[in-house]
């Protein structure tokens, strides 16, 4: 058996580097797959899959271009869990909230407050909270109010540098941020008090963390494992006793499981853990790598092996990788070359 990452299609339209991609959650399996992408061209594009009748025709088309709102690079985007809203974070210091109104996207709110570039935005599992982060070193938590109102409930200070990414845990209201200061910080509201967010853990070089900028992180489906990627050219796997947290017995810290080094040879910008436990990573070496847990010898704890490498996945840096929802093992990648590629992971027998 051999696995292959097959290029399905290249999506063209952006006129500058594509920084990030986000798959819309699938409301029903009958719904088409939808992907959002954001770019240095200051726009967001919405791409929709249409099963094509003839093999020669393109099966992805650009359904909408969200423009004339952000005045600088749109760095990242995130769908609300319902798929009805899209949040976009921009170097123009704002986060825009877009609503899907019958295929058209309308900007319904603009979140202001950060002093400079907003780098990342994330919705919590229930869609009631939003987090943003910025070069201004802060992480903001916003409460989603009725009528497309967003109220800032907390400004979290703790990072000593530029915050690159924020990500909510997939099931619990625990927030993670990673930074140019080489650390990952975990933010938690004790006893669920919505006004008492504070840092409960800092993962740094002294506790097996990264030695340079941490660019991204991702969770497995269950939420008991996390992967981080860095400018130090490594990926790191972490785990936590989330059952303890779920049962209300306090915060369970994340501990180091494994370090994956020697694969990418330039900055790793993006990492994403699939529902069927395949970790994809993308880097400035133009390559995509896939990793799986080695289930054979578990004596020294879990170890991870490379499943495959795709050299020259793009002509230049790959900035983002995301596994699709749904049954197909589709992977979207975004690059400085201005394109998005859709890949399918197939197993050759």
């Amino acid at each position: 058996m051999e696995d292959e990452l097959k290029e399905i299609e290249t999506l063209q339209g952006h006129t500058d580097k594509v920084w990030s991609v986000a798959w819309k959650p699938l409301a029903a399996t009958t719904h088409p797959l939808v992907l959002a992408s954001c770019s240095g061209d200051k726009t967001v594009r919405i791409w929709e899959h249409t099963p094509s009748s003839s093999p020669s025709s393109l099966s992805w088309h650009c359904k909408a271009v969200l423009d004339e709102t952000h005045t600088r690079t749109v760095r990242s985007c995130a769908w609300s869990p319902s798929g009805k809203m899209l949040a976009t974070a921009s170097f123009d210091a704002t986060t825009a909230i877009w609503e899907d109104v019958g295929g058209d996207f309308e900007c319904v709110s603009t979140l202001e407050g950060h002093e400079n570039e907003v780098k990342s935005v994330s919705w919590n599992a229930s869609g009631s909270l939003l987090a943003t982060c910025s070069r201004d070193k802060t992480v903001w938590i916003w409460e989603v109010m009725p009528g497309n109102e967003f109220e800032c409930v907390s400004v979290l200070q703790g990072h000593s540098q530029d915050v690159k990414m924020v990500k909510w845990h997939p099931t619990l209201d625990v927030l993670f941020s990673c930074s140019y200061d080489n650390t990952v910080k975990v933010w938690w509201a004790e006893d669920g008090d919505p006004d008492d967010w504070h840092c409960v853990q800092t993962i740094g070089e002294s506790n097996n963390g990264h030695s340079s900028t941490v660019w991204a992180l991702s969770f497995n489906a269950k939420g008991d494992k996390m992967v981080t990627c860095s400018d130090d050219l490594t990926l790191k796997i972490w785990e936590s006793d989330i059952e303890m947290m779920e049962s209300g017995n306090g915060y369970a810290p994340w501990t180091h499981v494994s370090t994956l080094s020697g694969y990418h040879d330039r900055t790793i910008f993006s990492v994403h853990w699939s529902r069927d436990d395949i970790i994809a990573s993308a880097a400035a070496d133009d390559a995509i790598r896939l990793f799986v847990e080695n289930k054979d010898g578990k004596i020294d704890g879990p170890s991870y092996n490379i499943l495959l490498k795709k050299d020259k996945a793009h002509d230049v840096d790959v900035n983002s990788v995301q596994w699709s929802p749904g049954d197909n093992r589709l992977l979207a990648s975004a690059s400085d070359d201005g394109t998005i590629k859709i890949w399918e992971l197939t197993t050759l027998t």
């Binding site: 690079t73 780098k119 070069r135 140019y180 002509d315």
Partner: protein, 161 residues
């Protein structure tokens, strides 16, 4: 932002004599460190001359950039530029680095991976300057800053005859 060299009494080095080289007819597409050096030197001279007419010396004489500070790995497609800010606390270091990056991007195929560093020991905040110059997100954001963009653009286009 102060755009001068902030060094009233710079150490001035003699201009190096250029050794004439024979062209290799079989290697037309290769990226030549000397070619990069010439482009960047000309570019940086104009960058700093525009802003700082008080400084009569060229960057070569100030040793900001030397031919040895450029290495090209053709096979891996990598370019490493090491430059020397004229004083330890030169606030121009990040601006110079940014301009060098913009100029290289303008002149060479995009698949070249460019690393830009200040030469070891030449800057008080060496590590932080290097980190900032090689963080592509920070570079992209800086180039969207209207003041910096204008400076970079002026220098990119003003002397291309």
């Amino acid at each position: 932002m102060t755009l001068g060299l902030i060094n009233a009494n710079p150490v001035v080095h003699a201009k190096k004599e250029r050794i004439a080289r024979t062209e290799d007819p079989h290697n037309d597409d290769a990226v030549d460190p000397l070619e990069i050096y010439d482009i960047l030197l000309f570019y940086l001279s104009s960058l700093l001359d525009i802003r700082d007419p008080e400084h009569p010396y060229s960057l070569e004489q100030l040793s900001v950039l030397s031919e040895e500070s450029i290495t090209v790995d053709e096979k891996l497609g990598r370019i490493l530029i090491t430059f020397t800010p004229t004083i330890q606390h030169c606030s121009m270091a990040t601006v110079i680095g940014l301009c060098l990056r913009a100029k290289l991007k303008h002149c060479f195929p995009p698949h070249f991976k460019v690393d830009i560093k200040v030469s070891p020991g030449s800057h008080a905040n060496e590590e932080s300057v290097n980190k900032q110059l090689n963080d592509k997100e920070r570079v992209a954001a800086a180039l969207e800053n209207p003041n910096l963009r204008q400076l970079v653009d002026e220098c990119l286009y003003s002397n291309e005859l």
